[in-house]
Protein backbone atom coordinates (compact mmCIF):
# COMPACT_ATOMS: atom_id res chain seq x y z
CA UNK A 1 0.00 0.00 0.00
CA UNK A 2 1.40 3.41 -0.87
CA UNK A 3 0.80 6.40 1.36
CA UNK A 4 0.84 9.72 -0.47
CA UNK A 5 1.11 13.02 1.34
CA UNK A 6 0.53 16.35 -0.23
CA UNK A 7 2.74 19.39 0.20
CA UNK A 8 0.59 21.07 2.83
CA UNK A 9 0.66 18.01 5.08
CA UNK A 10 4.46 17.72 4.85
CA UNK A 11 4.94 21.40 5.79
CA UNK A 12 2.49 21.03 8.68
CA UNK A 13 4.37 18.00 10.01
CA UNK A 14 7.71 19.83 9.76
CA UNK A 15 6.41 22.89 11.61
CA UNK A 16 4.89 20.67 14.29
CA UNK A 17 8.20 18.83 14.76
CA UNK A 18 10.09 22.11 15.06
CA UNK A 19 7.64 23.37 17.68
CA UNK A 20 7.84 20.12 19.59
CA UNK A 21 11.65 20.23 19.60
CA UNK A 22 11.60 23.80 20.80
CA UNK A 23 9.14 22.94 23.52
CA UNK A 24 11.06 19.92 24.77
CA UNK A 25 14.54 21.43 24.67
CA UNK A 26 13.60 24.83 25.96
CA UNK A 27 16.44 27.36 26.12
CA UNK A 28 14.77 29.32 28.89
CA UNK A 29 17.04 29.86 31.88
CA UNK A 30 15.00 29.81 35.08
CA UNK A 31 15.75 32.65 37.38
CA UNK A 32 16.79 31.77 40.91
CA UNK A 33 17.63 35.31 42.05
CA UNK A 34 14.97 37.47 43.58
CA UNK A 35 14.83 40.89 45.21
CA UNK A 36 12.78 41.22 48.34
CA UNK A 37 11.88 43.59 51.18
CA UNK A 38 11.98 42.97 54.89
CA UNK A 39 8.41 43.83 55.81
CA UNK A 40 7.58 41.43 58.62
CA UNK A 41 9.08 40.82 62.04
CA UNK A 42 8.13 37.95 64.30
CA UNK A 43 9.36 37.07 67.77
CA UNK A 44 9.17 33.63 69.34
CA UNK A 45 10.13 32.47 72.81
CA UNK A 46 13.12 30.19 73.25
CA UNK A 47 13.90 27.65 75.95
CA UNK A 48 17.59 27.88 76.77
CA UNK A 49 17.53 25.91 80.01
CA UNK A 50 19.22 22.85 78.49
CA UNK A 51 22.45 22.45 76.53
CA UNK A 52 20.85 23.37 73.23
CA UNK A 53 18.31 26.10 72.68
CA UNK A 54 14.81 25.06 71.60
CA UNK A 55 11.54 26.71 70.64
CA UNK A 56 9.39 27.49 73.63
CA UNK A 57 5.63 27.50 73.21
CA UNK A 58 5.03 28.41 76.85
CA UNK A 59 5.08 31.88 78.42
CA UNK A 60 7.56 30.99 81.14
CA UNK A 61 11.35 31.15 81.18
CA UNK A 62 14.05 30.90 83.83
CA UNK A 63 15.06 34.33 85.05
CA UNK A 64 18.63 33.85 83.82
CA UNK A 65 17.59 32.21 80.54
CA UNK A 66 15.46 34.87 78.84
CA UNK A 67 15.78 34.23 75.12
CA UNK A 68 13.91 35.05 71.93
CA UNK A 69 14.24 34.37 68.26
CA UNK A 70 13.57 37.24 65.89
CA UNK A 71 12.76 36.58 62.23
CA UNK A 72 12.73 39.27 59.57
CA UNK A 73 11.10 38.25 56.32
CA UNK A 74 9.17 39.28 53.25
CA UNK A 75 5.63 38.36 54.09
CA UNK A 76 4.37 38.49 50.52
CA UNK A 77 7.16 36.34 49.20
CA UNK A 78 6.69 33.72 51.89
CA UNK A 79 2.94 33.69 51.27
CA UNK A 80 3.43 33.30 47.53
CA UNK A 81 6.00 30.56 47.84
CA UNK A 82 9.36 30.68 46.15
CA UNK A 83 9.07 28.69 42.98
CA UNK A 84 11.65 29.76 40.41
CA UNK A 85 10.17 31.97 37.76
CA UNK A 86 10.99 31.92 34.06
CA UNK A 87 11.99 35.17 32.38
CA UNK A 88 9.35 34.69 29.72
CA UNK A 89 6.24 32.65 29.85
CA UNK A 90 7.10 30.23 27.07
CA UNK A 91 4.91 27.16 26.96
CA UNK A 92 7.68 24.64 27.29
CA UNK A 93 9.16 22.11 29.62
CA UNK A 94 11.55 23.23 32.32
CA UNK A 95 15.04 22.08 31.33
CA UNK A 96 16.22 19.08 33.24
CA UNK A 97 19.18 19.74 35.51
CA UNK A 98 21.15 17.42 37.74
CA UNK A 99 20.46 19.62 40.75
CA UNK A 100 18.20 22.60 41.10
CA UNK A 101 20.18 25.55 42.37
CA UNK A 102 19.00 27.12 45.60
CA UNK A 103 17.09 30.35 45.19
CA UNK A 104 18.97 33.47 46.27
CA UNK A 105 17.06 36.37 47.79
CA UNK A 106 18.65 39.82 47.60
CA UNK A 107 17.36 42.37 50.14
CA UNK A 108 16.54 45.79 48.77
CA UNK A 109 17.39 47.36 52.13
CA UNK A 110 19.79 46.32 54.82
CA UNK A 111 19.32 46.42 58.57
CA UNK A 112 20.91 49.45 60.21
CA UNK A 113 19.88 49.22 63.85
CA UNK A 114 18.39 46.98 66.49
CA UNK A 115 16.77 48.32 69.63
CA UNK A 116 15.26 46.43 72.53
CA UNK A 117 13.11 48.30 75.02
CA UNK A 118 11.66 46.81 78.17
CA UNK A 119 7.98 47.47 78.65
CA UNK A 120 8.01 46.21 82.23
CA UNK A 121 10.26 47.16 85.11
CA UNK A 122 13.08 44.64 85.15
CA UNK A 123 14.61 45.92 88.40
CA UNK A 124 14.61 49.21 90.32
CA UNK A 125 17.56 50.30 88.17
CA UNK A 126 15.87 49.31 84.91
CA UNK A 127 12.40 50.84 84.80
CA UNK A 128 9.86 50.26 82.06
CA UNK A 129 10.77 52.13 78.87
CA UNK A 130 14.52 51.62 79.27
CA UNK A 131 16.67 50.70 76.29
CA UNK A 132 18.06 47.29 77.25
CA UNK A 133 19.76 46.39 73.96
CA UNK A 134 23.09 46.19 75.78
CA UNK A 135 21.71 43.53 78.14
CA UNK A 136 21.37 41.10 75.26
CA UNK A 137 23.84 39.04 73.31
CA UNK A 138 23.01 37.29 70.08
CA UNK A 139 23.51 34.16 68.05
CA UNK A 140 22.72 33.74 64.37
CA UNK A 141 21.95 30.08 63.73
CA UNK A 142 23.05 29.86 60.13
CA UNK A 143 25.97 32.23 60.28
CA UNK A 144 27.50 32.38 63.78
CA UNK A 145 30.85 30.66 64.12
CA UNK A 146 31.89 29.17 67.41
CA UNK A 147 30.08 28.25 70.57
CA UNK A 148 29.69 31.63 72.21
CA UNK A 149 27.42 34.59 71.49
CA UNK A 150 28.17 37.83 69.73
CA UNK A 151 27.40 41.31 71.00
CA UNK A 152 24.46 43.08 69.39
CA UNK A 153 26.82 45.52 67.61
CA UNK A 154 28.34 42.58 65.74
CA UNK A 155 24.91 41.21 65.00
CA UNK A 156 24.20 43.69 62.21
CA UNK A 157 27.39 42.72 60.39
CA UNK A 158 26.45 39.08 60.76
CA UNK A 159 22.86 39.30 59.53
CA UNK A 160 23.33 41.83 56.72
CA UNK A 161 24.06 39.73 53.67
CA UNK A 162 24.18 40.36 49.95
CA UNK A 163 21.70 37.56 49.61
CA UNK A 164 19.89 34.98 51.72
CA UNK A 165 19.79 31.47 50.32
CA UNK A 166 16.62 29.40 50.43
CA UNK A 167 14.07 31.92 51.61
CA UNK A 168 13.66 35.68 51.94
CA UNK A 169 14.23 35.84 55.66
CA UNK A 170 16.87 35.98 58.34
CA UNK A 171 16.60 34.87 61.94
CA UNK A 172 18.69 35.66 64.96
CA UNK A 173 18.47 34.77 68.61
CA UNK A 174 18.70 37.19 71.51
CA UNK A 175 19.80 36.13 74.99
CA UNK A 176 19.60 38.32 78.07
CA UNK A 177 22.90 38.32 79.94
CA UNK A 178 21.36 39.29 83.29
CA UNK A 179 19.54 37.35 85.95
CA UNK A 180 16.33 39.35 86.12
CA UNK A 181 14.78 39.91 89.54
CA UNK A 182 11.33 40.89 88.27
CA UNK A 183 8.60 38.28 88.09
CA UNK A 184 7.75 38.98 84.45
CA UNK A 185 9.23 40.74 81.43
CA UNK A 186 7.92 42.20 78.21
CA UNK A 187 10.05 43.68 75.45
CA UNK A 188 9.57 45.62 72.24
CA UNK A 189 12.12 44.82 69.57
CA UNK A 190 12.62 47.36 66.81
CA UNK A 191 14.66 46.90 63.66
CA UNK A 192 15.53 49.89 61.51
CA UNK A 193 16.16 49.44 57.79
CA UNK A 194 18.34 51.48 55.47
CA UNK A 195 15.28 53.20 53.98
CA UNK A 196 14.55 54.56 57.49
CA UNK A 197 11.54 52.28 57.87
CA UNK A 198 11.14 50.42 61.14
CA UNK A 199 9.72 47.06 62.04
CA UNK A 200 8.61 46.52 65.63
CA UNK A 201 7.36 43.45 67.42
CA UNK A 202 6.54 42.81 71.04
CA UNK A 203 7.35 39.68 72.87
CA UNK A 204 4.52 38.21 74.86
CA UNK A 205 4.54 38.66 78.59
CA UNK A 206 7.03 36.15 79.95
CA UNK A 207 6.67 34.91 83.51
CA UNK A 208 10.01 34.23 85.14
CA UNK A 209 11.01 31.22 87.18
CA UNK A 210 13.97 31.31 89.50
CA UNK A 211 16.40 28.45 89.10
CA UNK A 212 16.89 26.50 92.32
Amino acid sequence: MRISTDRTTRITVLISLAFLLKAVSSCIQPVFDFDFDFNKITVTNLDNSDVYVMRNDRDTMYSSAIAFEVTLSDEEFLAAGSLPKAETAFPGFTPATAMSPESLYHPRHHITALRIVTLEEMSPAIPAGSDVTGLFVAYVPRYSEGFLYIITDELLTMINRDFYPGEPSVSFQLFCNQDITASRVLFAITVTLSDESMLTAQTGIVNLLRAR
Binding site: N48, S49, V51, Y62, S64, A65, Y149, I150, C176, A211
Partner: protein, 286 residues
Protein backbone atom coordinates in the same frame (compact mmCIF):
# COMPACT_ATOMS: atom_id res chain seq x y z
CA UNK B 1 56.44 11.19 63.69
CA UNK B 2 54.30 8.63 61.91
CA UNK B 3 56.13 9.15 58.59
CA UNK B 4 59.51 8.97 60.32
CA UNK B 5 58.50 5.74 61.99
CA UNK B 6 57.30 4.29 58.69
CA UNK B 7 60.60 5.16 57.02
CA UNK B 8 62.48 3.58 59.90
CA UNK B 9 60.36 0.46 59.63
CA UNK B 10 61.20 0.13 55.93
CA UNK B 11 64.89 0.72 56.62
CA UNK B 12 64.75 -1.78 59.43
CA UNK B 13 63.49 -4.44 57.10
CA UNK B 14 65.79 -3.62 54.17
CA UNK B 15 69.13 -2.62 55.73
CA UNK B 16 70.06 -6.03 57.10
CA UNK B 17 69.70 -7.59 53.66
CA UNK B 18 71.44 -4.75 51.80
CA UNK B 19 74.63 -5.76 49.93
CA UNK B 20 76.57 -2.84 51.38
CA UNK B 21 76.17 -4.39 54.78
CA UNK B 22 77.15 -7.80 53.58
CA UNK B 23 78.91 -9.96 56.10
CA UNK B 24 82.48 -8.98 56.85
CA UNK B 25 82.62 -5.58 55.16
CA UNK B 26 80.66 -3.33 57.49
CA UNK B 27 78.67 -5.76 59.52
CA UNK B 28 79.92 -8.69 61.44
CA UNK B 29 76.49 -10.02 62.39
CA UNK B 30 72.81 -9.16 61.98
CA UNK B 31 69.67 -10.09 63.84
CA UNK B 32 66.04 -9.42 63.14
CA UNK B 33 63.20 -10.24 65.52
CA UNK B 34 59.44 -10.25 65.67
CA UNK B 35 57.66 -10.00 69.00
CA UNK B 36 54.42 -9.27 70.78
CA UNK B 37 54.18 -7.48 74.08
CA UNK B 38 52.07 -5.88 76.76
CA UNK B 39 52.46 -2.53 78.51
CA UNK B 40 51.15 -1.85 81.98
CA UNK B 41 50.79 1.74 83.14
CA UNK B 42 50.84 2.93 86.74
CA UNK B 43 50.36 6.59 87.46
CA UNK B 44 49.45 8.89 90.29
CA UNK B 45 45.94 10.26 90.31
CA UNK B 46 46.03 13.40 92.41
CA UNK B 47 43.02 15.04 94.04
CA UNK B 48 41.28 17.67 91.98
CA UNK B 49 42.27 21.25 92.66
CA UNK B 50 40.88 24.36 91.03
CA UNK B 51 42.75 23.57 87.82
CA UNK B 52 42.50 20.70 85.40
CA UNK B 53 45.47 18.33 85.68
CA UNK B 54 45.73 16.41 82.41
CA UNK B 55 48.05 13.78 83.89
CA UNK B 56 45.16 12.52 86.03
CA UNK B 57 43.59 11.31 82.80
CA UNK B 58 46.40 9.27 81.22
CA UNK B 59 44.94 5.91 80.36
CA UNK B 60 45.45 3.54 83.26
CA UNK B 61 43.30 0.71 84.50
CA UNK B 62 43.23 -2.22 86.88
CA UNK B 63 43.68 -4.62 83.97
CA UNK B 64 46.94 -6.49 83.50
CA UNK B 65 47.94 -4.27 80.61
CA UNK B 66 46.62 -1.06 79.09
CA UNK B 67 48.30 -1.57 75.74
CA UNK B 68 49.36 -4.47 73.55
CA UNK B 69 51.87 -4.06 70.78
CA UNK B 70 53.48 -5.89 67.90
CA UNK B 71 57.09 -5.11 67.21
CA UNK B 72 60.00 -5.79 64.92
CA UNK B 73 63.61 -5.10 65.72
CA UNK B 74 67.08 -5.30 64.25
CA UNK B 75 70.35 -5.60 66.07
CA UNK B 76 73.44 -4.93 64.01
CA UNK B 77 76.99 -5.78 65.03
CA UNK B 78 79.36 -3.45 63.17
CA UNK B 79 83.07 -3.80 62.85
CA UNK B 80 85.04 -1.93 65.50
CA UNK B 81 82.94 -2.66 68.61
CA UNK B 82 79.94 -0.68 67.44
CA UNK B 83 76.38 -1.98 67.52
CA UNK B 84 72.96 -0.61 66.76
CA UNK B 85 69.66 -1.71 68.22
CA UNK B 86 66.46 -0.57 66.50
CA UNK B 87 63.04 -1.48 67.82
CA UNK B 88 59.78 -0.41 66.20
CA UNK B 89 56.40 -1.36 67.63
CA UNK B 90 52.78 -0.57 66.92
CA UNK B 91 49.42 -0.77 68.66
CA UNK B 92 46.35 -2.18 66.97
CA UNK B 93 46.19 0.87 64.71
CA UNK B 94 49.36 -0.44 63.00
CA UNK B 95 51.01 2.96 63.24
CA UNK B 96 54.71 2.24 63.87
CA UNK B 97 55.12 5.03 66.41
CA UNK B 98 56.83 3.18 69.26
CA UNK B 99 60.57 3.60 68.69
CA UNK B 100 63.57 2.58 70.74
CA UNK B 101 66.78 3.19 68.84
CA UNK B 102 70.26 2.93 70.30
CA UNK B 103 73.80 3.27 69.11
CA UNK B 104 76.11 1.14 71.24
CA UNK B 105 79.86 1.27 71.73
CA UNK B 106 81.50 -1.65 73.50
CA UNK B 107 85.02 -0.82 74.68
CA UNK B 108 84.96 -4.02 76.74
CA UNK B 109 83.46 -7.41 76.08
CA UNK B 110 80.83 -7.12 78.80
CA UNK B 111 80.31 -3.38 79.02
CA UNK B 112 79.04 -0.88 76.52
CA UNK B 113 77.75 2.66 76.37
CA UNK B 114 74.51 3.56 74.67
CA UNK B 115 72.86 6.68 73.29
CA UNK B 116 69.60 6.89 71.47
CA UNK B 117 66.01 8.02 71.23
CA UNK B 118 62.87 6.61 72.77
CA UNK B 119 59.29 7.49 71.93
CA UNK B 120 55.88 5.93 72.38
CA UNK B 121 52.26 7.12 72.41
CA UNK B 122 49.65 6.81 75.10
CA UNK B 123 46.05 7.82 75.47
CA UNK B 124 44.52 10.54 77.56
CA UNK B 125 40.83 9.86 78.21
CA UNK B 126 37.89 11.93 79.42
CA UNK B 127 39.83 14.86 80.81
CA UNK B 128 36.52 16.76 80.57
CA UNK B 129 35.36 14.83 83.63
CA UNK B 130 37.23 17.40 85.69
CA UNK B 131 34.82 20.08 84.52
CA UNK B 132 31.79 17.85 84.75
CA UNK B 133 32.59 17.09 88.39
CA UNK B 134 33.79 20.46 89.61
CA UNK B 135 31.73 23.03 87.72
CA UNK B 136 28.47 22.72 89.63
CA UNK B 137 25.52 24.45 87.98
CA UNK B 138 27.01 24.00 84.52
CA UNK B 139 26.89 21.51 81.75
CA UNK B 140 30.60 20.88 82.36
CA UNK B 141 31.34 20.00 78.75
CA UNK B 142 28.72 20.41 76.07
CA UNK B 143 30.67 18.06 73.81
CA UNK B 144 28.97 14.74 74.45
CA UNK B 145 31.58 12.70 72.58
CA UNK B 146 34.07 10.48 74.37
CA UNK B 147 36.99 12.87 74.79
CA UNK B 148 40.24 11.10 73.99
CA UNK B 149 43.54 12.26 72.65
CA UNK B 150 46.91 10.70 71.98
CA UNK B 151 50.04 12.10 73.56
CA UNK B 152 53.50 11.10 72.46
CA UNK B 153 56.22 10.78 75.05
CA UNK B 154 59.66 11.27 73.47
CA UNK B 155 63.11 11.35 74.96
CA UNK B 156 66.84 11.12 74.52
CA UNK B 157 68.50 8.24 76.30
CA UNK B 158 72.01 7.36 77.39
CA UNK B 159 73.27 4.54 79.53
CA UNK B 160 75.14 1.33 79.94
CA UNK B 161 74.84 -2.00 78.18
CA UNK B 162 75.94 -5.20 79.87
CA UNK B 163 75.88 -8.15 77.45
CA UNK B 164 76.49 -11.73 78.50
CA UNK B 165 76.52 -14.93 76.45
CA UNK B 166 76.95 -18.53 77.53
CA UNK B 167 76.75 -21.13 74.78
CA UNK B 168 73.17 -20.86 73.44
CA UNK B 169 71.96 -18.34 76.01
CA UNK B 170 72.31 -14.57 75.49
CA UNK B 171 71.42 -11.93 78.04
CA UNK B 172 71.68 -8.19 77.75
CA UNK B 173 70.91 -5.58 80.35
CA UNK B 174 70.51 -1.91 79.52
CA UNK B 175 70.53 0.73 82.20
CA UNK B 176 69.16 3.80 80.47
CA UNK B 177 68.27 7.25 81.64
CA UNK B 178 67.51 10.48 79.94
CA UNK B 179 65.21 13.40 79.38
CA UNK B 180 61.76 13.06 77.90
CA UNK B 181 58.75 15.26 77.25
CA UNK B 182 55.10 14.85 76.40
CA UNK B 183 54.03 16.33 73.10
CA UNK B 184 52.25 19.68 73.64
CA UNK B 185 48.61 19.83 72.66
CA UNK B 186 45.59 22.09 72.70
CA UNK B 187 42.12 21.28 73.96
CA UNK B 188 38.85 23.14 74.24
CA UNK B 189 35.98 22.72 76.68
CA UNK B 190 32.68 24.50 76.16
CA UNK B 191 30.28 25.00 79.03
CA UNK B 192 26.78 26.30 79.55
CA UNK B 193 24.93 27.19 82.70
CA UNK B 194 22.02 24.90 83.57
CA UNK B 195 18.77 26.92 83.33
CA UNK B 196 20.74 29.96 82.22
CA UNK B 197 22.08 31.71 79.14
CA UNK B 198 25.65 31.99 80.43
CA UNK B 199 28.21 30.22 78.24
CA UNK B 200 31.92 29.78 78.69
CA UNK B 201 34.68 28.40 76.49
CA UNK B 202 37.98 27.28 78.00
CA UNK B 203 41.00 26.71 75.77
CA UNK B 204 44.04 24.86 77.04
CA UNK B 205 47.46 24.93 75.47
CA UNK B 206 50.02 22.73 77.19
CA UNK B 207 53.76 23.37 77.16
CA UNK B 208 56.68 20.97 76.87
CA UNK B 209 57.20 19.02 80.06
CA UNK B 210 60.84 17.88 80.17
CA UNK B 211 61.62 15.42 82.95
CA UNK B 212 64.36 12.96 83.83
CA UNK B 213 63.49 9.31 83.43
CA UNK B 214 65.06 5.98 84.37
CA UNK B 215 64.59 3.11 81.96
CA UNK B 216 66.27 -0.28 82.61
CA UNK B 217 65.74 -3.12 80.14
CA UNK B 218 66.64 -6.80 80.16
CA UNK B 219 66.66 -9.07 77.13
CA UNK B 220 67.09 -12.81 77.08
CA UNK B 221 67.62 -14.88 73.95
CA UNK B 222 68.00 -18.60 73.45
CA UNK B 223 69.37 -20.11 70.23
CA UNK B 224 67.09 -22.93 69.21
CA UNK B 225 68.21 -24.30 65.87
CA UNK B 226 70.39 -23.48 62.91
CA UNK B 227 69.81 -23.67 59.23
CA UNK B 228 72.60 -22.75 56.89
CA UNK B 229 74.50 -19.80 58.32
CA UNK B 230 71.47 -18.56 60.25
CA UNK B 231 70.48 -19.19 63.84
CA UNK B 232 66.86 -19.01 64.97
CA UNK B 233 65.84 -18.52 68.55
CA UNK B 234 63.31 -17.17 70.98
CA UNK B 235 63.62 -13.96 72.95
CA UNK B 236 61.92 -12.25 75.85
CA UNK B 237 62.37 -8.72 77.03
CA UNK B 238 61.22 -6.76 80.05
CA UNK B 239 61.60 -3.09 80.81
CA UNK B 240 60.53 -0.55 83.38
CA UNK B 241 60.21 3.17 82.82
CA UNK B 242 59.72 5.70 85.56
CA UNK B 243 59.44 9.46 85.50
CA UNK B 244 58.11 12.33 87.61
CA UNK B 245 56.45 14.89 85.45
CA UNK B 246 54.00 17.77 85.53
CA UNK B 247 52.07 19.15 82.60
CA UNK B 248 51.70 22.92 82.75
CA UNK B 249 49.56 24.94 80.41
CA UNK B 250 48.18 28.28 79.42
CA UNK B 251 44.43 28.66 79.81
CA UNK B 252 42.25 31.18 78.02
CA UNK B 253 38.68 31.56 79.28
CA UNK B 254 36.00 33.30 77.24
CA UNK B 255 32.69 34.19 78.85
CA UNK B 256 29.53 35.08 76.91
CA UNK B 257 31.47 36.27 73.82
CA UNK B 258 34.94 35.93 72.34
CA UNK B 259 35.91 39.40 73.55
CA UNK B 260 38.13 40.11 76.56
CA UNK B 261 39.29 36.61 77.53
CA UNK B 262 40.92 35.86 80.87
CA UNK B 263 44.39 34.34 80.55
CA UNK B 264 46.14 32.18 83.16
CA UNK B 265 49.33 30.19 83.33
CA UNK B 266 48.85 27.05 85.40
CA UNK B 267 51.65 25.06 87.03
CA UNK B 268 50.49 21.62 88.06
CA UNK B 269 52.10 19.29 90.61
CA UNK B 270 54.38 16.49 89.43
CA UNK B 271 52.96 12.99 89.07
CA UNK B 272 54.84 9.77 89.40
CA UNK B 273 54.40 7.67 86.30
CA UNK B 274 55.77 4.25 85.50
CA UNK B 275 55.23 1.59 82.92
CA UNK B 276 56.26 -2.01 82.74
CA UNK B 277 56.63 -3.84 79.45
CA UNK B 278 57.05 -7.48 78.66
CA UNK B 279 57.36 -8.90 75.18
CA UNK B 280 58.33 -12.21 73.65
CA UNK B 281 59.04 -13.42 70.14
CA UNK B 282 61.45 -14.98 67.74
CA UNK B 283 64.73 -13.92 66.23
CA UNK B 284 66.93 -14.83 63.36
CA UNK B 285 70.66 -14.17 63.48
CA UNK B 286 73.11 -14.52 60.62
Amino acid sequence: MRHLASILLVLLLTIPSSPIFSQGRVLEKKQVALWFGIRDITRDSLANTGDLDFLNYLHSSDDMSEYQYLGVSAHLWFRGNWEADIKVAMYDDFAPNNLNIKAIWLPMKNLGFTAGIYTYPQLMNEFNMFHRLTDVGFFGDTDSNFRQRRVQESGLTAGLMIPFSYRWLHATAYINGGVSTLSPFTEKVTQKMINGNFKREIRYSTSHSPALFFFPEVELGADCFTFGNAMAGIRVRASWYTVNRSVDYGRVTYEWTYANPARNEVDNPAHHFSKFEFDAGFYLTW
